[in-house]
C-alpha cells in the first residue's frame, strides 16, 4: 500500500491549514527533505505500513446523516414524557445558557494557568464556588470534580486524611448505587473498610444501625434526598454520627433550593452532582461534581480552587490558588490525582444559578414538591399501587405494584411514557418497585395521564 504524499493537494484536510507549498518551505527551513524524516526516531518495526482501518474522512453532510441516524434509534424525552430520575433529572434549561457556552472564549480556552489572559474563566469559577457555599451552608467550594460518584470518592478520601489510624467508613445503603460502586472501586487497594447501613420503614437511614456502625469509623456519608427520593433528617443523623466527619451527598441539586442546607445541620462536607442545574441528561455525562467543606478542611481539598487577589496596579483579580495540594506540585503526595475537571459544566451551572437566582431556585424547589405531592396522592388512590416509603420526598418516589416493574414500565412505554427506573436492578427483592421523578417540566395533564396509564397497566396485567 502506498501512503499518501502529504504535499499533494489531494491530501489537504479542512481542519489542517498547511499544505503544498507551505509544507515544502517549512521542510527547507528545518533542513530535511520529507515529513517522514521527522519520524526517524520511531523505529520502523513499530511503524504502520499502511493506513488505519477506520471509516472516513467524512464531509459534514455524511457525518450529519450517520450520527442523526443513530440518534433517531434512541427513544427519548424528545417524543415521550419522561419520569426518569435516579441521579439524572430533566429540568428547565434557560435558552441563553447554551448560547453563552458556545462562546469560543469559554469553549476553546484551557485551564486558567495564566491568569492575566484567563480572568473570564477564573472569575466565573469564583462565582460558582460562591453559589455552592450559599446553597450548602458550608464555607469553601472547589472548582468542580468529575461528577457526583467521584465526588463522593474524593470526600471519603479527604475524611480519611483527617484522622490517623482509622480505616472504617460508614455509607448509607440508600446512596445512589452507582456512587457506592464507584467508592468500592476507588478504595479497593487503600485498606479501607466500608460498612453500609440500610433503611427503615419510612425509607430513611436506620438510625439505630447507624449508631452501632460508628464505632471506630472515621466518617459517615448519607444522601438526601436519598436514592428513593426520601429526605433525611440531618439533625438526627448528625446526632447519631457523633464526632465523626459527616458527609452529605446531593444527587438532585435543585433540592438545595428548598431543603435545609447540610452545613447548618452538623455536616462537614457536602458533595454532589450538579446535573440538575439545567444540564441535559445526555446519557450520563458530562455532568459536574461539586464539593463544599468547612473552612478548617480547605487545605485538604482535592482539585482546583480559585481565590481573589490583586494585580500590581492594585486591581482585583482571580487566580488558581493553594496549589501545593495538587498533583502538579505534590505529585505522589497530592490530595487527589485530578487535573482536568468539568469547568465548562461548572460555568453552565453558574449561569443557571444566576438566572434562576434567589426566587427561581426556590420556585423550582416548591414546584417539584407540589407536583410530586400531587402525583403521590393520585397514585395512592390507585388500587394495587403501594408507596412503600412514607417519609417526606422532594421530587422522586418509589412505586410498587403486584407485578414485575419491567412489565409495567413496558406498558407505560406504549403510552409514550418513560415511566420510571426499575429498582430490581439495584436491590434484590425489589423487582416490583420503580422510581418515579417529577419536575417543574411536568404539567398537571402529564401527571394525570401518568396516573391513568399506570392504573390501566395494572388492570391489563391483572387480566
Amino acid at each position: 500500500m502506498t501512503l499518501p504524499d502529504p504535499t499533494a493537494s489531494s491530501s489537504s484536510h479542512r481542519y489542517i491549514s498547511n499544505a503544498g507549498e507551505d509544507i515544502r518551505e517549512m521542510l527547507e527551513v528545518i533542513g530535511v527533505d520529507s515529513i517522514d524524516r521527522l519520524f526517524d526516531t520511531i523505529p520502523n518495526d513499530v511503524k504502520l505500513k499502511g493506513l488505519l482501518d477506520i471509516p472516513g474522512p467524512w464531509s459534514e453532510i455524511e457525518t450529519r446523516r450517520w450520527f442523526r441516524g443513530l440518534a433517531a434509534r434512541n427513544i427519548t424525552a424528545t417524543d415521550h414524557v419522561s419520569f426518569l430520575g435516579g441521579g439524572a433529572y430533566s429540568h428547565y434549561q434557560p435558552a441563553c445558557i447554551d448560547q453563552l457556552l458556545l462562546r469560543a472564549e469559554f469553549l476553546t480556552a484551557y485551564t486558567p494557568y495564566q491568569p492575566e489572559v484567563s480572568q473570564g474563566t477564573l472569575q466565573s469559577i469564583f462565582e460558582y464556588q460562591t453559589h455552592q457555599c450559599l446553597l450548602t451552608g458550608l464555607d469553601v467550594a472547589n472548582a468542580s470534580l468529575y461528577d457526583g460518584s467521584t465526588a463522593l470518592c474524593e470526600a471519603v478520601l479527604l475524611a480519611e486524611r483527617l484522622v490517623k489510624g482509622k480505616k472504617k467508613v460508614v455509607l448509607a445503603k440508600s446512596i445512589h448505587p452507582h456512587y457506592l460502586e464507584t467508592v468500592h472501586t476507588y478504595v479497593q487497594n487503600l485498606g479501607l473498610e466500608i460498612v453500609e447501613v440500610g433503611w427503615g420503614a419510612d425509607g430513611r437511614i436506620d438510625l439505630e444501625a447507624l449508631r452501632a456502625a460508628t464505632t471506630d469509623a472515621f466518617a459517615v456519608a448519607i444522601q438526601s434526598p436519598n436514592f428513593f427520593g426520601v429526605i433525611e433528617d440531618y439533625d438526627a443523623v448528625a446526632q447519631a454520627a457523633g464526632t465523626l466527619t459527616k458527609i452529605s451527598v446531593i444527587a438532585e441539586a435543585t433540592s438545595l433550593g428548598v431543603l435545609a442546607p447540610p452545613g447548618q445541620h452538623g455536616f462537614d462536607i457536602c458533595v454532589g452532582e450538579g446535573q440538575a442545574w439545567g444540564i441535559p441528561p445526555q446519557f450520563g455525562g458530562p455532568y459536574v461534581g461539586f464539593m463544599v467543606v468547612r473552612d478548617a478542611l480547605k487545605r485538604h481539598m482535592p482539585g482546583r480552587l480559585v481565590g481573589e487577589t490583586v494585580d500590581v496596579d492594585g486591581k482585583r483579580a482571580y487566580v488558581l490558588t493553594l496549589a501545593t495540594r495538587e498533583q502538579h506540585i505534590r505529585r505522589g503526595k497530592a490530595t487527589s490525582n485530578i487535573c482536568t475537571n468539568q469547568a465548562l459544566i461548572a460555568l453552565a451551572a453558574n449561569m443557571y444559578l444566576s438566572l434562576m437566582g434567589k426566587a427561581g431556585l426556590r420556585e423550582v424547589g416548591t414546584q417539584c414538591l407540589q407536583k410530586t405531592a400531587y402525583l403521590r396522592e393520585k397514585l395512592r388512590a390507585i388500587a394495587n399501587v403501594e408507596l412503600p416509603f412514607d417519609g417526606p420526598v422532594y421530587n422522586e418516589l418509589v412505586v410498587r405494584t403486584p407485578f414485575d416493574a419491567k412489565l409495567i414500565l413496558a406498558d407505560l412505554e406504549h403510552e409514550k411514557i418513560l415511566g420510571g427506573i426499575p429498582l430490581g436492578e439495584f436491590y434484590e427483592g425489589q423487582e416490583r418497585d420503580f422510581l418515579v421523578a417529577v419536575t417543574e417540566l411536568h404539567t398537571r395533564e402529564h401527571l394525570d395521564h401518568y396516573a391513568g396509564a399506570l392504573s390501566a397497566a395494572i388492570s391489563r396485567e391483572r387480566r
Binding site: 502529504p6 489542517i16 469553549l107 485551564t111 467550594a141 441535559p280 445526555q282
Partner: protein, 496 residues
C-alpha cells in the same frame, strides 16, 4: 507585529466586570416558570420546617439581560484557540470543529437518560461500540473502556487493572516506576491505586536508558508508567526493548497517551508492547477544553488485562443489537456513575469520522512538522537543553536570558503583549526554566511565523530593554497578580 512602543502605551484598561453577586438588585429576575397548575398544599404538610429552608440568603437577583452582559464581558477577558495559537505544551490545543458541537446537541443524544432500558438507547450503545472499535484500531489493542472521564481518571483505571491482574496471580507488588520527566498526575494516580513510586532518572537525551530500567525492575515492580513521546517530545526509540524487560519480570508497561497526537495513524501503542494506554480525547481528538474540562480518558488494554476492565462493557449480539455487559467477575468495578462523559465521546467520534485514516495520519505529520519548524526558527535565540530530535513539541529554556535577569515567567508574560497565549512553563521539571511549546497541526504557517517573530523580538528585548520584559504583561486586562497573597490569605468566595 506590534511595535514595542505601541505595546508599552497600550496600558489603558477598561474596568473589569463586577461579580454577578455585585450586580444583584432586589426584585430582579432572570427566569419565568409556568404558574403552578396543581392544587397548592401548605408547605408545612409537604416538608416540616426543620427540614426546610425558606430563603437562600444572599443568592443573586438579576435579569436575563444582566446575565448575558455579564458572561459576555467575562468571556472577553479570556484568550482561546479560536482567537489564535495557544501553544501549551502537553495540552494539544487544536482547532475544535463546530460540527462536533452540533452533533452532540442532537436531541436524541442530549435528552437520552443514562438509566433507560437497553432497547430504548440502541443508538447510543451502537455509537459507543463504534468508538471502541475505532480506538482499538488506533491503539492496536484488543479492548478499550470508555468510562474514564479525564486523563488522570484513565491512569487510575489502568493502574487499578494492573494491580488486580497482579493480585490475581498472587502478588500485587509494591512499586510503580515513573521517569522524572512525567506529568504529576502519574505518581498521584499510582499512589491512589495503592502503589509507592520509584522515580527513574532521564539520560542526556531526556529518555530512559535500558540499563537504568533493567536495574530498577525488581520482583516488586508492578509497572513502568511512561509518556510516549516523553514530555520533551522525544520518542523512546527503545520502547519495545523496555516492554520486553518489563514483561520478562512479569511487570506491565503503562503509556500516558497525552502525546498521542504526535504519532496517531503513524504507529500504534499495541505494536510497541504497551499493555495499557489512556488517550485524552480532549487533546488528540479535539473535544473542546472548556476552560478545564469536561474531557474523557478512554483506556486501551492488552489481552492479559481484558478480564479486569471496568463494568459495564458495551457488546454487540449476533442479531446486531447492543447491550451493556456486567458479567465480568474479575472487573475492577465501576469507575464512575453511568457511561462516562458520553457527550464528549460523541464529539470525539464525530472528529474521528471527519478525519478518517488519512486525516488522522496527517494530524501527526503536520503537528510534528509545525513543532519542528518552530524549533528550527527559534533554536538560535533560545537554549535547547535537549537536542535530541523531537516530535510534536519542543522544550526550550531561559538559559540565554537569565544573565539579563529575564526568566521564563517574564517571557511567557511578554508573549501576551504580542497576542499569544504562553507555552507551558517550568515543565517538565528536568529542565530549569522550561518553555514547552506545542503548536498542533491546526496552525497555518503565517501564525507560526508570527509566533516565532514575537519570540525572537522578546529575545532581542531581553538584551536591549530587559525591564520591558520583566514588567510584562502591559496590555492584558489585569497585569501580574499577587499570587502569594492569594495563598496566604485565601479569599475563596464572595461575601456580602
Amino acid at each position: 507585529m506590534t511595535a514595542i512602543e505601541e505595546t508599552e502605551v497600550a496600558t489603558t484598561k477598561s474596568s473589569l466586570e463586577p461579580l454577578i453577586f455585585e450586580r444583584s438588585k432586589p426584585g430582579r429576575r432572570g427566569y419565568q416558570l409556568p404558574a403552578l397548575d396543581v392544587p397548592e398544599q401548605p408547605l408545612d404538610s409537604l416538608l416540616p420546617p426543620a427540614l426546610r429552608r425558606d430563603e437562600i440568603a444572599n443568592e443573586v437577583e438579576v435579569s436575563e439581560v444582566d446575565v448575558i452582559r455579564h458572561f459576555t464581558r467575562l468571556s472577553k477577558l479570556n484568550v482561546s484557540i479560536d482567537a489564535g495559537l495557544y501553544p501549551l505544551g502537553s495540552c494539544t490545543m487544536k482547532h475544535n470543529p463546530r460540527i462536533n458541537e452540533e452533533i452532540a446537541r442532537t436531541p436524541g443524544f442530549a435528552l437520552s437518560h443514562p438509566l433507560q432500558a437497553e432497547h430504548q438507547v440502541q443508538g447510543n450503545l451502537e455509537l459507543l461500540w463504534h468508538l471502541e472499535q475505532t480506538l482499538k484500531e488506533i491503539f492496536g489493542l484488543p479492548r478499550v473502556t470508555l468510562q474514564p472521564v479525564a486523563g488522570a481518571h484513565g491512569e487510575l483505571t489502568g493502574i487499578l487493572m494492573i494491580h488486580k491482574a497482579l493480585a490475581k496471580s498472587g502478588n500485587a507488588r509494591k512499586y510503580i516506576l515513573i521517569p522524572d520527566s512525567a506529568h504529576g498526575t502519574n505518581p498521584a494516580s499510582a499512589a491512589f491505586a495503592g502503589y509507592e513510586i520509584r522515580e527513574l532518572k532521564s539520560n542526556s537525551r531526556g529518555t530512559v536508558d535500558l540499563s537504568t530500567l533493567e536495574a530498577a525492575v525488581t520482583e516488586d515492580v508492578a509497572a513502568l508508567m511512561i509518556t510516549v513521546p516523553n514530555t520533551l517530545g522525544v520518542f523512546e526509540s527503545e520502547i519495545k526493548a523496555m516492554a520486553d524487560i518489563l514483561h520478562a519480570k512479569g511487570a506491565y508497561l503503562y503509556c500516558d497517551g497525552a502525546n498521542l497526537n504526535s504519532f496517531v495513524g503513524v504507529a500504534r501503542p499495541g505494536d510497541m508492547g504497551i499493555d495499557v494506554i489512556h488517550s485524552n480525547l480532549h487533546k488528540t481528538f479535539s473535544t473542546p477544553h472548556g476552560g478545564g474540562g469536561p474531557g474523557a480518558g478512554p483506556v486501551g488494554v492488552s489481552e492479559k488485562l481484558v478480564p479486569f476492565l471496568p463494568t459495564p462493557t458495551i457488546e454487540r449480539r449476533e442479531d446486531g443489537t447492543f447491550y451493556a455487559d456486567f458479567s465480568h467477575p474479575d472487573s475492577i468495578g465501576r469507575m464512575r456513575a453511568f457511561h462516562g462523559n458520553f457527550n464528549v465521546l460523541v464529539r470525539a467520534l464525530t472528529y474521528m469520522r471527519s478525519m478518517g485514516p488519512t486525516g488522522l495520519r496527517r494530524i501527526a505529520q503536520l503537528a510534528v512538522l509545525n513543532a519542528n519548524y518552530i524549533r528550527a526558527r527559534l533554536k538560535k535565540h533560545y537554549h535547547l537543553p535537549y537536542d535530541a530530535p523531537s516530535l510534536h513539541e519542543v522544550v526550550f529554556s531561559d538559559k540565554l536570558q537569565t544573565p539579563k535577569d529575564v526568566h521564563t515567567l517574564d517571557i511567557a508574560k511578554r508573549l501576551m503583549d504580542y497576542g499569544f497565549h504562553p507555552p507551558t512553563i517550568y515543565f517538565p521539571l528536568i529542565v530549569s526554566g522550561a518553555l514547552m511549546i506545542e503548536p498542533t497541526e491546526s496552525e497555518p504557517k503565517e501564525e507560526l511565523d508570527a509566533f516565532c517573530d514575537a519570540m525572537i523580538a522578546i529575545a532581542h528585548e531581553t538584551q536591549e530593554r530587559p525591564e520591558l520584559v520583566r514588567s510584562a504583561p502591559h496590555t492584558t486586562p489585569v497585569r501580574r497578580l499577587d499570587e502569594a497573597r492569594a495563598a496566604r490569605q485565601p479569599v475563596l468566595r464572595w461575601t456580602k
